[in-house]
């Protein structure tokens, strides 16, 4: 485990009140949980990808995401005055309601089309989000964003490339990716929702104003969908709840898989 060596007083969080620190803590979990759960979903495909090459590509993305999650969790554990909270406890020992990821990332792999569509919808957001987070007043967050954005640029290239290949491929690949896009579309709006902690962090110049990147987001994905000869879904019905801890029925299964080891053999290490 590498430790974040920044001294507390070197961080803007050093001057924060307890309430503000709690908001920052929640904010960090909100960002990290998206990558954690998506990484776990992609990890399920290890050894099960449609081809050796795509299998490795998807698990590479998964490992990139876990690496980013560790940075956020280490920071989140550091600013909370409770020694029992560590990066591992944050990842493995919370209950379902305490995870703050959006519903999109917990949706099942179903098939390659769904896996790619989910990734595509998330990557566009993730890229625009990190680009703004690079300007955060919180230096640790800005540094994490700067490091992560190279990885996420590649994720976006990978998923948008596959959207085009599948959409503009055979009739079958076109129909199936269109179905996945249509089904997952209703989870995209939640990416921009702001919790109270989010709003507090935005006001402080630490967080990203997601509403300000929403327009660019839909433009970014629309351009790719059009190039892929896919129809843009018209539905204006949006699912939400993950950011408040109200998850879909899939979440419990993900956590029981992910947390199995730590729950069965508490404190085990390897």
């Amino acid at each position: 485990m590498t430790n974040n060596t920044l001294a507390n007083d070197a961080l803007p969080s050093g001057n924060m009140s307890t309430g503000q620190l709690e908001d920052l803590h929640k904010y960090l979990l909100g960002i990290a949980d998206n990558s954690l759960i998506l990484g776990q979903r992609l990890g399920e495909l290890c050894g099960h990808g449609p081809s050796l090459e795509t299998d490795i590509a998807l698990t590479n993305i998964s490992l990139d995401l876990f690496g980013q999650v560790r940075s956020y969790f280490q920071y989140a554990a550091q600013i909370i005055a409770d020694d029992k909270v560590t990066e591992d406890s944050l990842a493995f020992l919370r209950i379902e309601r305490e995870y703050r990821n959006v519903l999109l990332v917990e949706q099942p792999n179903t098939d390659f089309g769904y896996t790619i569509a989910r990734q595509f919808f998330f990557d566009a957001f993730h890229f625009l989000f990190l680009k703004e987070l690079e300007n955060s007043k919180d230096e640790t967050l800005a540094a994490i964003a700067k490091k992560s954005i190279k990885e996420v640029s590649y994720h976006w290239r990978f998923s948008s490339d596959w959207i085009k290949r599948l959409g503009d491929g055979t009739q079958e690949s076109h129909d199936r990716i269109q179905e996945a896009v249509n089904d997952l579309w209703m989870y995209t709006d939640e990416l921009f929702h702001q919790t109270d902690a989010d709003k507090e962090m935005i006001a402080q110049g630490i967080g990203v104003d997601t509403l300000a990147i929403k327009k660019s987001y839909y433009k970014m994905i629309t351009e790719v969908l059009e190039e892929a000869t896919l129809a843009i879904p018209e539905s204006k019905y949006w699912h939400k709840g993950g950011k408040q801890g109200i998850h879909s029925e899939h979440m419990g299964y993900i956590l029981s898989d992910m947390q199995y080891m730590q729950r069965t053999y508490p404190n085990m290490e390897w």
Binding site: S51, L52, E53, T54, I56, A57, N60, R157, F158, D161, R165
Partner: protein, 95 residues
């Protein structure tokens, strides 16, 4: 579902300290762009390289092992073709 595979591609990677690209393996891809991206994911994920070449395997003409006799054996018994009969001065290094 069709059992047809994507074409095979050969991957050459230049490592950070290496001067030349070296063959490191092969993979399947639908086209050159996908081959490049697959090569990045399959062969450089542990930072093995800083540059990649991919070439479709069917573009490589390989020598036929059946012709090994006429191709390579004539070279085997001609020691005078090896520069091993010279005394090198000590000052000459790295020969």
């Amino acid at each position: 579902m069709s059992k047809k595979n994507w074409p095979l591609w050969e991957v050459f990677v230049r490592s950070k300290n290496g001067l030349e690209h070296r063959h490191c393996g092969s993979l399947h891809a639908a086209d050159a762009e996908m081959a490049m991206s697959n090569a990045r994911d399959v062969y450089t994920r542990r930072s093995e390289g800083v540059s990649i070449w991919v070439v479709e395997s069917s573009n490589i003409l390989a020598s036929n092992p059946e012709n090994n006799g006429e191709m390579f054996e004539p070279a085997a018994d001609k020691v005078y073709r090896h520069p091993t009969f010279y005394d090198l001065p000590d000052e000459v290094k790295h020969m």
